[in-house]
Point group: C2
Chain length 359, copies 2
Amino acid sequence: MKPLYRERLKRLRSSMAGKKLGAFVVTDLKNIRYLTGFTGSSAYAIVSSDKAFFLTDPRYTAQSREEVKGFRVKIFKKALDTVAEILGGIKAAAVGFESGSVSFDNYSKLAKALKGKAKLKASAGLVSALRSVKDQFEIEKITEAAKLLDKGFIHALKVVKPGAIEREAAFSIETFWKKRGAEGLAFDTIIASGERGALPHGKASEKRIKKGELVVIDMGALLNGYNSDETRTFVTGRPTAKQKEVYQVVRDAQAAAIESIRPGVKASAVDLAARSVIGKAGYGKYFGHGTGHGVGLDIHESPGLGPTSIDVLEEGMVITVEPGIYIPGWGGVRIEDMALVTKNGAKLLTSTNRDLVIL
Amino acid sequence: MKPLYRERLKRLRSSMAGKKLGAFVVTDLKNIRYLTGFTGSSAYAIVSSDKAFFLTDPRYTAQSREEVKGFRVKIFKKALDTVAEILGGIKAAAVGFESGSVSFDNYSKLAKALKGKAKLKASAGLVSALRSVKDQFEIEKITEAAKLLDKGFIHALKVVKPGAIEREAAFSIETFWKKRGAEGLAFDTIIASGERGALPHGKASEKRIKKGELVVIDMGALLNGYNSDETRTFVTGRPTAKQKEVYQVVRDAQAAAIESIRPGVKASAVDLAARSVIGKAGYGKYFGHGTGHGVGLDIHESPGLGPTSIDVLEEGMVITVEPGIYIPGWGGVRIEDMALVTKNGAKLLTSTNRDLVIL
């Protein structure tokens, strides 16, 4: 199966029409990859109701001709001058731009180069809204990345153990993935053992894992451009009553959140489902982050599943569900899976055992 | 030796005074690391003539108290509101911001939150100008990264050979570095053999290296936050007359550029020194990029060594010198070293053999 670039462009044009934009300038490289197929590091795309241009610098002449589908390729010397020239030819009254990522200086330069020929309109989130709903090609690629991730957890069971150093275990898992075709990590692997588990972003450190500790492992593989993201919390040795209790609360919270997922449900309601379970158990103040986020070409993308999110779930979204409890001086527990929103509810894409595993 | 944060802050305040800025908002994370020591992924810094604030979110409370030196730490809920509040207290007429990296949306939000209490002034490049001249701590760290990089080339001699797959060789070198403490790669390793050598950014691919090919290897290790960057071109088997000739032209071009380096010299003059040698040999149209760039916390930073650069070399700058010749359908040669600008000229920080090595 191949990416349906034509379909993606059609959806963008429909969004543009809804915002009364005669043209749209794409600058975010992941958005450009999504729309054109280009994987390099220097590019712009310009879309109007009937034209589509792809711009890159001379280093990428050969690569762009090979990768870019359905866009007219132009090679620039000075990017913003070429952008302004093309926009001048399109003669759109309002030109949308990605105001969430374009720097103030580039905005100013583009406005100047346009010499009043078109009005720039801050239009952040247009492509990311399209990207939040995955097409079949993407679901296939994300599922492959999630399966490779799951295998990494089987490998983790071998290298995460009392006596091991967090950073060395993380590197062993990274090597395992890369040997199996991963381009890299979705993000720096988190292995946070003992008290470090109370840090939600406790990157693997030089700490040695000890007996009797909870070990939070949050990791993901990047495969064919798509990210994956999963967390498990293991225990080294027989768990204490409190370790078991906190683990069970997080597990119940995750189950409640997963249960609540279906098209039309507010993202904030999924967060609330998890948050209520943790709150009722008396650990509310130890759950400081949102319940999840979209995953795709970016590791964090739309929708957001926090208490103040205004997103609504749609069929085809891929989201994480990752409640946690973090107790300073004691440690932490987080359990995270990736879920595809289907018309029948959540379909989990990650499948590592969710019971408390003793290492 | 420790980083001299106080000295760095003093230099920033002197730059601010020169631009008549009563306050400066730092948003680039590498600039924040340079000024404060913080290595996390969410932060702002605000500097006035007599105050210095560091802002982060609750995830980084513990880490910021450990890492941040000489700044008053504040934990925010909504970053830009806290920034506006602090700026309101400083009562500066003009507030500089990093317009080269702040998004248009964040600029707009900050301007709105300020409610006219201060005038925002686009001030890109203020900290990067400071960073272009390295202090003793940085020179020490960059030298360590360069030495680890050199060792990677010794390893490369073992794994880059006829029959090897580019990507597997690159991964073997990456593993070699990581086992010796590197946090990661400075950038995706380039191993471009045969015709692929004509791509200046030919990332290691699935191509198998054949006999009789030139192989361009451009790579760097990231060690203790500092980058390194070096290129060598090897040949697999006895070189042809043309391979030898092109190699020698690039080597002479690099030697001429290195020879021209000293404080007070225009960066464009170093570029010209290399470019003239290549031009005179008749390969001018095959050298499409600049001769080098600064290296430090970022892999590409100030100064730039291209034909249109307005930078002037200063003692303490660390730059790359990397001319190349790229002939479509034939292949390429690039030779790159890192040089510290000293009062007596260039001191090379990388030391791999510059003769044409036969693999």
